[in-house]
């Protein structure tokens, strides 16, 4: 099989062929490493490529197959790991100069789970410095480029993962999402990003993370692959108190089931208040497509979202506390966008932090209320599509919004509420702008009901205008 045919397959397509020994993990890994060699100079999507380790893992997985030890859907599948997720014996920079030589002694829990499932680690993926932003324009390791147009950002902070999965460099990536850092790059790169329910997946080994609302989640090329990745990493971790001891269901169980009678809530406020017209058109068309599939639509109101900006107050305070040990000793190793944004958290008063947590509580209740009447909510994944790498502000309805550093936040406007509520949310492609850049739809579900989200997303995926579309550079 030609290399291009191999690298453009999905995990769900590859898995049975690997199980049947029709495709070898060694052959697959070599095809992926050839894709890395061709596209890393273009995309700058890795900070560290693990050539030798990937080849060694591939040989081990192939040997296991030959012994009849098939480990499941990820067996022999090359994946990328965002470089703020700890990997034993492999440097983990967090996209920062502060950690440029840091080599963890232990794997993050999710990395261990992927290794046990037979996945092959291709490399550590580039990201925004300290995962604190949405551009992946990294001062220390260079900008990541969007495969659909390399003059544009891939989104962030898991930009390397989004770019790699879209460009068929890897089959999946493990990213992290504190305000939309998995769903954002998935959206801007035209692939699938999942932030599952808070507590579903262990955060142990996620470095320089926030006290409130961080997640590790997968970026994939299909909804089915997203379910397979979540299956591998979900579960209670006794060493991570954020995880919840609930059973892990079969996340693929509802895939392919018809959507007739499923109830969809369309927020009448907040999510569509500030939005690029092209994005709104694509999202409204996706909503119509869901209705055509039998989903019942109704408008829902989330009145407390008028105070959603307060959620950022808690994030500011959490951030400065997270960075405090490094700021004191490595201030000059910080890039200006992260440094000045982080330092502002110093001035958040305790009173305001407490208020922000109470607002967070009210917002959670609002979502819980509407999700008693509908099975999921549908929103844009972001108010805008990707912008040029050298852009400092985006213009929406005549107003300029900063997109980097202090004051930035427009990109995460639609995604960050789900970090505060803890609800599962995923971004799936729903079309393109006239400039040819992807547009994403966001689905938000009830706690621990990821399988329902996969059912809906899978149903929509089959009619999405983005289906079967790949960036031209995948095969050129």
């Amino acid at each position: 099989m030609a290399d291009t045919a191999l690298v453009t397959m999905t995990i769900a397509e590859l898995a049975p062929k690997i199980k049947a020994k029709a495709i070898s993990p060694v052959e697959l890994t070599e095809a992926v490493l050839a894709q890395v060699a061709r596209l890393q100079p273009v995309l700058n999507s890795f900070i560290t490529v693990l050539h030798d380790q990937a080849r060694r893992q591939a040989r081990e997985q192939e040997a296991a197959l030959m012994r009849g030890e098939y480990r499941g859907s990820l067996h022999g599948i090359p994946i990328g790991i965002k470089d703020n997720i700890a990997t034993a014996g492999i440097r983990t920079t967090v996209g920062s100069k502060v950690f440029t030589d840091y080599v963890p002694e232990e794997d993050a829990y999710v990395v261990s789970r992927c290794k046990e499932a037979g996945a092959i680690m291709i490399g550590k993926e580039n990201l925004e410095e300290f995962a604190a932003g949405s551009t992946s324009n990294n001062l220390h390791y260079g900008a990541v480029h969007n495969p659909w147009n390399v003059d544009y950002i891939p989104g962030g902070s898991s930009g390397g993962g989004g770019a790699n999965v879209a460009a068929c460099v890897t089959f999946a990536s493990l990213g992290t999402d504190l305000g939309g850092s998995v769903r954002g790059p998935a959206n801007f790169c035209g692939v699938v990003g999942l932030k599952q329910t808070y507590g579903r997946v262990s955060q142990r080994g996620l470095m320089v993370t926030s006290f409130n609302g961080d997640h590790i989640g997968p970026i994939t090329r299909s909804v089915q692959d997203s379910a397979l990745m979540l299956q591998a990493i979900a579960g209670y971790d006794p060493l991570d108190p954020s995880t919840v001891p609930v059973p892990v269901p079969d996340f693929s169980a509802l895939l392919g089931q018809e959507l007739r009678g499923v109830k969809m809530g369309i927020p009448s406020n907040y999510y569509f208040d500030i939005i690029d017209p092209e994005v709104e058109t694509a999202v409204r068309q996706a909503i119509a497509a869901l209705e055509a599939l039998g989903v019942e639509a109704r408008e829902v109101a989330l009145p407390t979202m008028q105070y959603a900006g307060a959620l950022r107050i808690a994030g500011m305070a959490d951030s400065v506390v997270t960075h405090e040990p490094y700021l004191q000793t490595h201030r000059h190793d910080y890039g200006p966008t992260v440094l000045y944004r982080t330092l502002a958290g110093q001035f958040v008063l305790g009173r305001d932090y407490a208020k922000a947590l109470q607002v967070q509580r009210l917002i959670k209740e609002d979502y819980a209320r509407v999700l008693q009447d509908v099975d999921f909510l549908v929103t844009p994944a972001a108010p805008v599509a990707a912008w040029r790498i050298d852009t400092e502000t985006v213009l929406l309805d005549g107003q300029a919004y900063p997109v980097r550093g202090p004051g930035a936040g427009i990109t995460a406007r639609c995604t960050s509420p789900s970090n505060a509520t803890g609800l599962p949310a995923m971004s799936i492609p729903c079309g393109f702008t006239h400039a040819g850049l992807p547009i994403g739809l966001q689905l938000i579900g009830r706690p621990f009901e990821e399988a329902r989200l996969f059912q809906v997303a899978h149903g929509y995926e089959s009619v999405s205008p983005s289906r079967q579309r790949r960036p031209p550079l995948v095969t050129v």
Partner: protein
């Protein structure tokens, strides 16, 4: 509400051990202004009766 530069600089020096120039404070200012704007919005919101609690009412302790 505005906070004088001297106050901000003294807090950074005290908590983090380094000085920030006026120009550096200006770079930080948009984030601070956003914070103050959001605080202002909360002034009229009565939060006195907000109950603490958990959203995720998953049944815990079942067999994994």
């Amino acid at each position: 509400m505005s906070i004088p530069n001297e106050t901000l600089q003294a807090m950074i020096r005290s908590y983090h051990g380094f000085a920030l120039t006026d120009d550096e404070l200006e770079l930080m200012r948009p984030e601070l202004d956003n914070y103050l704007k959001e605080v202002e919005k909360l002034r009229a919101l009565n939060l006195a009766n907000v109950m603490s609690g958990r959203l995720l009412r998953a049944q815990e302790g079942e067999a994994l």
